[in-house]
């Protein structure tokens, strides 16, 4: 017989824990948190560098320290039951309750019911195959996060002469980490003319160790039969195509890929939840409720965040939203206004906002390229609701603009919120 919960949270990383704790704070008493790893904390557990928590806690923590701030109350909570080493196989939305099918070694197959479900499965790294790099398929080509697990969790070194493709934050962090472990990081190649990582990581992880960042450069071939022997790099043109004649062979025994993160939405798709093609996450309201009532999503499964602090804040919205839903406090007749990115703004989350909200709503967005002396504007039709000047806007950094309940209540019928960016002037 199926077991019943008020709330099931899928994923015990920073998103899932923050959401569960927030729901508990709001009075939900029967919560089940399902985590596929053997520990809570998600990917933070292998992020032993510092830099976490500056925005949320106002202090600089390591990944495991940041995670601990949530693991301790989660484990102490009487409202939250945790099942580790448990994989959720299916989420099936229903009228009054949603079904969750999960599996583990001790319980076997778990058939669970919950009034509300929060999806917090996080994201995964884009693999080599997705890039279609030509050449051989030797050992010694790993995603940066996989290498991070080998080095930080298992205590093994996957290579000694290292080339990193992609200057996303994980790639930058691993450049420094591999250097600390005695490996020689020869270069970080970045396809784009700018890094997609945080500026502070470029300074602290590359510049401080004299590791060159080669912009507009990519790996065009992989060499070696059994173990990687080297890569061919090449300059790329404006259209990101390799420029003939610029190829150079770089001997190395490890190629790390830090070429993007993809929200892990297999369960979301399986549940028939609408996905935003740009974020690759669910389309949600300001409460992070998907198009299916009572199913919420937050954290990197919703859209890839740059900082865990923002994951926490977003997940608290989902936790509070789920609590309101469970306690029948949620608005029964919401009046939604859609949000859109325009002129260089790739996406906006949430994708819709209820005009009846009583608190400010932060609209998160990312731009598609680097802008200098830029202005980001939130508009409703021709009316500019709010704007913010920034010396620099970059795809690597998530931005936000706030819309107030007053502004929302004054919006005419059929209005939409758009965020756009303009440069210079």
């Amino acid at each position: 017989m199926a077991e019943n919960y008020e709330l099931i949270v899928v994923g015990g990383g920073p998103a899932g824990m923050a959401a569960a704790l927030e729901a508990e704070k709001d009075g939900v008493t029967k919560i089940l948190l399902l985590e596929r790893a053997e520990t809570l904390g998600g990917i933070l557990e292998q992020c032993i560098h510092t830099g976490f928590g500056l925005h949320y806690f106002g202090e600089e923590l390591s990944g495991p320290e940041y995670a601990d701030r949530f693991i301790v109350p989660t484990e102490q909570s009487s409202a939250i039951e945790v099942k580790l080493d448990t994989m959720v196989l299916e989420v099936t939305p229903g009228e009054n309750a949603h079904q969750v099918l999960a599996i583990n070694k001790t319980d076997g197959l778990l058939e669970l019911n919950a009034r509300a479900v929060i999806l917090a499965m996080g994201c995964r790294e884009r693999p080599r195959g997705a890039l279609n790099i030509a050449g051989t398929r030797p050992a010694g080509v790993l995603s940066a996060g996989t290498a991070q697990k080998y080095v930080n969790m298992d205590g093994y070194l996957p290579g000694k002469e290292v080339v990193i493709l992609g200057s996303g934050d994980i790639g930058l962090i691993m450049a420094r980490r591999m250097t600390f472990e005695g490996a020689h990081v020869k270069m970080v190649c970045e396809l784009m003319p700018y890094s997609s990582g945080l500026t502070r990581n470029i300074v602290q992880c590359l510049d401080d160790f004299d590791i060159p960042l080669k912009r507009s450069c990519t790996v065009v071939a992989i060499h070696g039969t059994e173990r990687l022997e080297g890569v061919t790099i090449a300059k790329v043109d404006k259209n990101r195509r390799p420029v003939p004649g610029t190829e150079a062979f770089v001997p190395c025994d490890l190629l790390l890929l830090s070429v993007g993160l993809i929200p892990e939405n297999e369960l979301t798709r399986g549940a028939g939840i609408e996905i935003d093609p740009v974020t690759a996450g669910a389309c949600v309201s300001q409460d992070r409720e998907t198009k299916i009532p009572g199913v919420f999503a937050c954290g990197n499964v919703l859209h890839v965040h740059d900082l865990v602090d923002y994951v926490t804040m977003e997940s608290q919205l989902a936790g509070a939203g789920a609590a309101a839903y469970i306690q029948d406090r949620a608005d029964k007749n919401p009046d939604y206004v859609g949000t859109h990115g325009k002129n260089g703004v790739r996406y906006v989350v949430p994708q819709r906002v209820n005009k009846h909200v009583t608190e400010n709503v932060k609209l998160y967005f990312r731009v598609g390229q680097v802008y200098k002396n830029a202005v980001a504007r939130l508009r409703a039709g021709e009316t500019v609701l709010t704007q913010r000047k920034r010396a620099r806007l970059a795809p690597g950094e998530m931005e936000d603009l706030t819309v107030t309940p007053e502004q929302l209540s004054l919006l005419p019928e059929g209005a939409e919120l758009t965020i756009e960016v303009a440069e210079g002037k």
Partner: protein, 481 residues
């Protein structure tokens, strides 16, 4: 373990393993010698995974005869060995009036080869069958008996069956020298190991001519012909249902787009004659070329969700046909060589024929085992089980409840099974082929570290000794500071 055998099969690809399996039916001591660390490591692991209907090969050739016969045997063999197979049919598209006579001659060939059900279809029927193919196509040759199969699963299953029936499987046995004696051959590996056998079957794939040279036989030459492929995520399933060919050329059957038995989409191959027999690199022009050619078949389809690209080598023989005969130098040395397309389709029939060749030469009594098992235990796949079956499985072995590979829903129990199986997995790629852990869209990003840990535990080897696919392909180079 005895090191003297009645027969040694050199090469553990789909041909060698199926021959070893067929020989294991008899009271014979059989050795299966493989140069690499696992079965199915050569041509078998990287090809179109097609069971051709058999209309392409020239009538009267081994290729024609054994293709049709092998394709007919394949469904039952796959059922016996629990290997994924599907009869999805094949279509050869004609794009203009020049193609029509080509299709007609293929039809004629096919009829002479006794391919069942073959017929030409018009545009309307074609588009009703495959709505995504090029609407400019004038028609197609339809071969309802065409199928798809997992070639490495077939070789793995055949090896498992052979070993369970008493065949000794030797990995990393790189045959470097063969001495002929009156009563037997002495076979030496590059590392100096020795096995003797009264008869030898040469199923050494692209290296079959090199192995023939070891007994002074230079009657054929194998040149590697490389084919590059793109594999797409199962999110793309349904783009096409049948295997879609274009009209063939001198270099092969051209670029195809096909579903795989695992619900991926496979596009390829290119065709390049190359010099080096282990050059499995992909090239930018090769990968771009197959995409361009594919677009003629399915023009509206935007390729996305590429999981991986790879290349395989066809063992192209200068004789133009399979080389299935005793060596002219020594009749106790039997060739199963030059097995390029349609070699996979023909493989069950080739194995049967080679056993017949063997029986012709074998002078001692040949008796069947009373307890020969033609199959293997059905591999348990948590993903494919019903809820009730899952519950039962986890009760039996809790590790079936621990999902290691998220993309393909593969449990730790399945990985343990794959390692402990006869001729089981010894490396990361071996686990991947047997269980599909790491075969999905994240390409082992998450499960790689866990699979390595399980291999290390099961094989009682330190993590640094676990390889991707045998010696030299270690994943970890040492401990951290």
């Amino acid at each position: 373990m005895t090191e003297n055998y009645d027969v040694a099969v050199i090469g553990a690809g789909v041909i060698g393993t199926l021959i070893a399996r067929s020989l294991s039916r008899y009271n014979l001591r059989v050795a299966l010698l493989e140069k690499l660390h696992d079965v199915a490591q050569g041509t078998t692991k990287a090809n179109s995974a097609i069971v051709h209907a058999g209309f392409d090969a020239k009538p009267g050739t081994f290729k024609a005869k054994y293709n049709v016969r092998g394709a007919a045997m394949m469904p039952e063999l796959c059922q016996t060995l629990h290997v994924p197979y599907a009869n999805n049919g094949a279509l050869v598209l004609g794009f203009d009036d020049d193609d029509v006579p080509v299709l007609e001659s293929l039809l004629e060939r096919g009829r002479r080869n006794k391919v069942p059900g073959l017929r030409l279809i018009g545009k309307e029927e074609l588009l009703a069958m495959e709505p995504n193919v090029n609407p400019c196509a004038v028609g197609a040759l339809y071969a309802p008996s065409g199928g798809i199969v997992s070639p490495f699963d077939l070789a793995i299953a055949a090896a498992e069956c052979a070993v369970a029936n008493g065949v000794d499987f030797y990995r990393d046995f790189d045959v470097a020298r063969i001495n002929q004696h009156d009563t037997h051959f002495s076979i030496y590996s590059a590392a100096g190991k020795k096995r003797t056998a009264k008869l030898v079957v040469n199923a050494a794939g692209v290296h079959a001519d090199d192995v023939a040279h070891l007994v002074g036989d230079d009657s054929f030459h194998i040149s590697p012909r490389r084919g590059e492929y793109l594999l797409l995520d199962n999110t793309q399933a349904g783009v096409v249902n049948a295997t879609i060919f274009q009209c063939p050329s001198d270099m092969g059957k051209g670029v195809l787009i096909t579903p795989t038995v695992h619900h991926n989409i496979l596009i390829g191959p290119s065709a390049d004659d190359i010099d080096v027999k282990d050059d499995l690199s992909t090239t930018d022009p090769g990968l771009k070329g197959i995409q361009t050619t594919m677009r003629l078949s399915v023009p509206g389809y935007q390729i996305k969700d590429v999981i991986t690209s790879f290349s395989g080598l066809r063992a192209h023989s200068n004789t133009g046909d399979f080389v299935l005969r005793p060596s002219l130098i020594d009749p106790r040395f039997i060739h199963a060589a030059g097995i390029e397309s349609p070699g996979l389709s023909a493989s069950p029939a080739i194995a049967a024929y080679v056993v017949k060749l063997f029986a012709d030469v074998w002078e001692e009594e040949l008796s069947e085992k009373t307890n020969w098992n033609p199959g293997r235990p059905k591999p348990l796949r948590i993903k494919e089980l019903s809820r009730e079956e899952r519950r039962e499985a986890i009760k039996k072995r809790p590790e079936y409840g621990r999902i290691v590979c998220r993309c393909e829903t593969v449990s730790e129990g399945e990985i343990i099974d794959a390692i402990r199986a006869p001729a089981g997995a010894r490396d990361m790629d071996g686990v991947k082929r047997r269980t599909r852990a790491g075969m999905g869209r994240c390409q082992a990003g998450f499960c790689g570290t866990k699979v390595l840990e399980i291999l290390s535990r099961e094989l009682q080897l330190p993590p640094q000794e676990i390889t991707k696919f045998g010696a030299g392909s270690q994943i970890l180079l040492g401990k951290t500071k």
